[in-house]
Assembly symmetry: C2
Homo-oligomer: 208 residues x 2
DNA sequence: TAGATTGTTAATCGATTAACAATC
DNA sequence: TAGATTGTTAATCGATTAACAATC
């Protein structure tokens, strides 16, 4: 909060956080910036700089205490509290994501699914509550849902996003190629587009 | 090729390409850099700069011809040829992606699926050919598959990536939180991690 | 102690933004 | 013609890389 962290650094710290989580599970307790850099494909300078934003102290000469570092990241980035999330658009992709088991252990709870098609809502097999799309603002607000995944056809992306924002959502992962235009309430949006990724990959391969 | 295009510019040009595609479908024939900027949430300077990398000419005073611009991007980034792709890991997410209809119209053909589990291969419902994972290098090479999506458990990501690279793959979209380490043959890899995106969103929301 | 590794300052690099002359 | 909008150069901004003193 006080020291502003650059966006790319935030992204890397998130990546680092998940990496530390895995290391911990594998039984490690300490790690050096150069080891991290090697595993994450970054420079060790970069890692130390990023960790530096946490305004915090590793042990000079012998690296970082994994648990301690995790706690620092967690506190600084606000990971110390479970968050509710929802999925809008319950087609193949949406229901696949909704049923991801990994969310829970990472502090996210998928508490609702939405779709505009009644048939979809009636036939879907899941333990998670599902609602018609027009209830988005209401449910999001009532259940205090903070994050949303949009997996609807691109033509519906903007209106869905607006309904979510109306309900007070804090962030959106948009799986649609449509670029959502900001409303009055500005919230972070992450765009993921598999075909777009293919385009980028094939462009990079072609240019190399 | 001759004028090196910065990576962020490549990403934006891909985004622009898809946007132009949509515009064309909606019946538009020309557009200005400021209109593009507005729709894509970027600065108009930025757009003109990026288009400038194509070493190419819009019409001063009246914007860009959409079809012409598309052709230029297409040629410069190598989109003028259909490419084959495959999916490794046929769980819920993998099979959802494999059956995306949108690939075709964007110049990508999913020609194979792989999984290490024989039961999965036997029970999966799809028109696309599926193979056991150990055949990856062989099939990728034989069918000249250029792009791959990895949707396996993170513990298998590295070995799958290596098999793909062995077969001569040109690029990978990695849906695993595991960061794939580069092999001798360096290829572009795009990492997508839904939980990671949640982390980033919640961090950004928290810090704002 | 000596070796290792952090934290931080300074230098470099690259991308974005601004501005404006050229021109349709 | 006048208005609009490009293409490009220059200025700014920010992030990454390098280097090294501090210290466990």
């Amino acid at each position: 909060m006080q020291t502003k962290i650059p966006k790319p650094a935030v992204n890397r710290l998130c990546m680092l956080y998940r990496f530390l989580h895995r290391l911990e599970n594998e039984g490690f307790t300490t790690i050096s910036s150069s080891k991290i850099a090697e595993q994450l494909g970054l420079g060790s300078h970069n890692i130390r700089k990023d960790i530096g934003y946490l305004g915090e102290i590793g042990i000079t000469g012998s690296g970082y205490d994994i648990a301690k570092l995790k706690t620092h990241i967690s506190q600084k980035l606000g990971f110390d509290r479970a968050k509710k999330a929802c999925v809008v658009g319950l087609g193949r992709l949406g229901s696949a994501i909704m049923n991801f088991e990994k969310f829970e252990i990472n502090g996210y709870m998928i508490v609702a699914g939405f779709d505009s098609n009644i048939n979809v809502l009636e036939t879907i097999k899941t333990n998670i509550d599902v609602y018609p799309a027009y209830l988005i603002p209401d449910i999001v607000q009532r259940l205090e849902i903070e994050l949303a995944v949009i997996t609807v056809p691109e033509s519906a992306a903007q209106s869905v996003a607006e309904k979510l924002i109306e309900g007070g959502i804090k962030g959106i992962v948009n799986f649609t190629p449509f670029v959502i235009k900001p409303t009055r309430k500005k919230i972070p949006i992450r765009n993921i587009d598999v075909i777009g990724e293919f385009d980028i990959l094939s462009a990079l391969a072609y240019l190399s």
